[in-house]
Amino acid sequence: MASSLKALLVDDMAVERLVASAMLRKFHCEITMAKNGKEAVDMFLEGNEFDIVVCDKDMPIMTGPEAVEKIRAMGATDVKIVGVSADDNAMEAFMSAGADDFVPKPVRPEILEPMIQEVINKKNN
């Protein structure tokens, strides 16, 4: 799969950023990282554009769902937002906030791949 998707990866835990970014890199994504929801929101406020956001739920300063809500409120409705969490109750929080998809942790490449492909197809059309 060839792509040049711009991915924003949001997670407060360094090890999880490391693993997830390696997965996204396998899909040839250009990756920007944020350590919490506020950093993610700031990225958008600074005018950065992303094709996909992969966002953890529980983070200091601003949670994933809070960030998702703010990103959508800014008018960033096209960007695909995927919530991730080891919390069984996270899906509802993310989807209510405006996320497109939810993936339970640990994130598996075979789960992420069709989502990436969907974004590529949409971008190419």
């Binding site: 835990m13 090890v15 490391l18 390696a22 997965m23 953890d56 529980d58 080891a86």
Partner: protein, 151 residues
């Protein structure tokens, strides 16, 4: 140097980690992410994991003292650690995280303390075994890299 013997030792050590339940399939997923561009990726992930997890355990221990019976706070710390354990396949550690969270749900201080001690033991065991494993892999080095032990 007897690379084949070192490879066998490394393979045996890794097999033991899986057979004894310290690691699960997610660790293999992490291994699959290693390539020529990032030849030490797995070890790098493990180093960062133990740095993160050590910090979280320390923060939790402080919270247990500073915020008695604040089960929501304790649970939040453990939720973070559980996520990290899941990401690298640290299965037994993850199970102790879940046990701790169950004890938080039952508002059992004694249960939480017991789970934390077990978690710390699993953390130490996994750390020691993985350090030994990577030490063996480093000894095998580039000469043995073509036939790196596989599970």
């Amino acid at each position: 140097m007897d690379y084949s013997n070192l490879r066998r030792q490394a393979a045996s050590l890794k097999k033991g980690l899986f057979d004894q339940g310290h690691l699960d399939e997610q660790f293999r997923q992490v291994e699959d992410l290693q390539d020529e561009a990032s030849p030490n990726f797995v070890e790098e992930v493990v180093v960062v994991f133990f740095k993160d997890s050590g910090r979280l355990i320390s923060n939790l221990e402080q919270a247990l003292e500073k915020y008695p019976r604040d089960f929501n706070r304790w649970d939040a710390y453990m939720q973070q650690l559980k996520g990290s354990c899941s990401s690298i396949g640290a299965s037994r550690m993850k199970n102790e995280c879940m046990s701790f969270r169950d004890n938080c749900g039952q508002r059992s201080v004694e249960g939480c303390m017991g789970s934390l001690q077990k978690l710390k033991r699993e953390h130490a065991i996994l750390r020691q075994k993985l350090e030994s494993y990577f030490q063996l892999l480093r000894q095998v080095g580039p000469a043995g890299a073509a036939t790196r032990p596989a599970m």
